[in-house]
Symmetry: C2
Subunit: 337 residues, 2 copies
């Protein structure tokens, strides 16, 4: 992990104060907590009066919390691309622009995910050869050293995209996990070469000669076995896996709560169910994930996040900046064949 040790400048994060189901109150609260606990500087992006009123409810006078005014934001049900075209000063776009202009080092938004991706793509720009932002991260803390890419928007991927996912995942594992030479695997339905669908079989051949530390195919159970540091898959599969994990987390937590009720004290039951959910849901643990393949740090969190989720997402943004995620992704993309 290449941490900046030369200078101790604080990381400056532009937070989309109008993103998420509990905006702006929970975003402001989470930002205040992050400023206090993590020593980051925050620029809250949103309607000034509203944010000032929210800030006034917190003890934040000694913290580095600025407001960058805009009164445009995305409302429930709006189509993200259309909204961003119609309202160029939309809060998430302004947050991205602050990064693009060098006035902040990272942007954080708790959704709308689609709008964040479009803002990142339009304003920060995609890296060389990348079509659209890539979703990657460690969705299951049960395998805390396994990055899965793409978790998101890229469906019907070309074999070439799988190699890009592998390079981006390698950068993520280097920076955020501190691994020197992360192993890369292809998600398939059998461990032997030649297993899988056409898309995967072609990707396999490209990955073999990519120069990455490719170890072959892995199967569904390896998503939580720790078998590989980076597992690449089509965003269609990744998105289904991510949401399946979320769904399972909810029903298993309910089951555990019901089954342990009466057997253990309720505080202990609550502790165990929380622990279960944190292992199964990326959002509960790290608040959100950095978009990969774009030329600036943009962390997108879950719309349902409360202040603690916002604080964690800001922490992820800080970590991405300090570990030079952007530069490392560009290096890894430049290396692949």
């Amino acid at each position: 992990m290449k941490m900046d040790t030369r200078e101790h400048k604080q990381v400056r994060v532009a937070a989309d104060a109008m993103g998420g189901d509990y905006a702006p109150a929970e975003v402001v609260k989470g930002a205040v907590q992050a400023a206090r606990n993590q020593g980051v500087e925050i620029i809250l992006v949103g309607p000034e009066e509203w944010l000032r009123a929210e800030l006034a409810t917190h003890d934040a006078a000694d913290l580095s919390l600025d407001i960058h005014h805009t009164d445009q934001f995305i409302v429930e049900g709006e189509h993200p691309a259309a909204a961003l075209r119609k309202k160029p000063q939309t809060s998430v776009a302004v947050a991205a622009r602050l990064v693009q202009e060098g006035r902040a080092e990272a942007a954080v938004s708790m959704g709308h995910t689609g709008a964040s991706m479009i803002a990142a793509q339009w304003i920060l720009g995609s890296m060389e050869g990348i079509d659209r932002p890539v979703g990657g991260g460690i969705p299951f803390a049960l395998a805390p050293q396994t990055v899965i890419v793409d978790l998101g928007p890229n469906v019907d991927c070309s074999p070439r995209q799988f190699v890009q996912f592998a390079a981006l995942g390698t950068a993520y594992a280097r920076c955020l996990l501190g691994l020197d030479n992360p192993t890369v695997a292809l998600l398939s339905i059998g461990s032997e070469e030649g297993k899988g669908n056409r898309q995967g079989q072609e990707a396999y051949q490209l990955l073999k000669k990519s120069g990455l530390n490719f170890i072959g195919n892995v199967e569904g159970w390896d998503l939580v076995s720790g078998q590989a540091n980076v597992i690449v898959c089509d965003g269609f599969v990744g998105n289904i896996l991510l949401k399946f994990g979320e769904g399972l987390s909810a029903v298993l937590a309910r089951w555990l709560r019901e089954r342990l009720a009466g057997l253990l004290p309720s505080t202990e039951v609550q502790r165990l169910t929380n622990e279960l959910q944190e292992m199964m849901e990326i959002e509960k643990r790290i608040g959100g994930g950095a978009l990969l393949g774009v030329k600036g740090v943009m962390v997108v969190g879950h719309g349902r996040s409360r202040a603690s989720g916002v604080e964690k997402a800001i922490g992820q943004a800080k970590l991405a900046v300090e570990s030079h995620l952007i530069e490392t992704m560009e290096e890894e993309l430049a290396k692949i064949q």
Copy 2:
């Protein structure tokens, strides 16, 4: 559910005594239990002397347990298609042939899965329009009324195959869940029409006019939400989900065991971890699943199954016969547009 009430003839099951990691001992033991507890007649297929010696270790004189001799079987590492070509009297093929000849009503094998599929396809034959056997079932007892199809071998599916999966899943839900008009959904990455990959978007259009009770797209979390009775997906996705569930089940059970140790009596801890695994793994609960789209009942169980898994798989075979699964699948396939 159309149960046979006219005649009370016992269901006769041909069990591949040489299939599975613990064959023949655990298969014979499970077959004896099934004969006793479920009132089925069993034909054990395998080397006569070996099976007779196994049977002698059980108290089974009063049960209907025949042996059908063959000394050919698949050994570890053999390629299933090649093995079946070279050894036509392979135990799993003989079991399928007993069904095809009407001497048994169902075949059961605890693997090799690939060999069972090929035997089913070659000997029982695929239904009209079906390329190869389809894997379907209820992998997650957390959603006990949700059948997922294809869980198995069909990858790179055509949109037309999704409609077949939907028809087969509908038959499964009618017969094995007793539902009159099962809802059918397409697994995707957004609930709106038009979301998903190209394959799914085309399948959506065909499903809409299929005549089935199609309710649109569902997402990953709906695999355990009970939102639909039948969820169709490409076998690539289905296989990954199935194995992901298995992997999660193992690591979550380990976590639960460790976390509850010392908090609860060990018998209670064991009960809870077993319960967790039974909710997450199809094999732990029902032993195995009937292959769909073939002209005869063939239940394939997990290779690692012990006697209780074998008994459950035989129970599934019995249920498939008594609920007229084969006829219902043919009816549903004939209805789709």
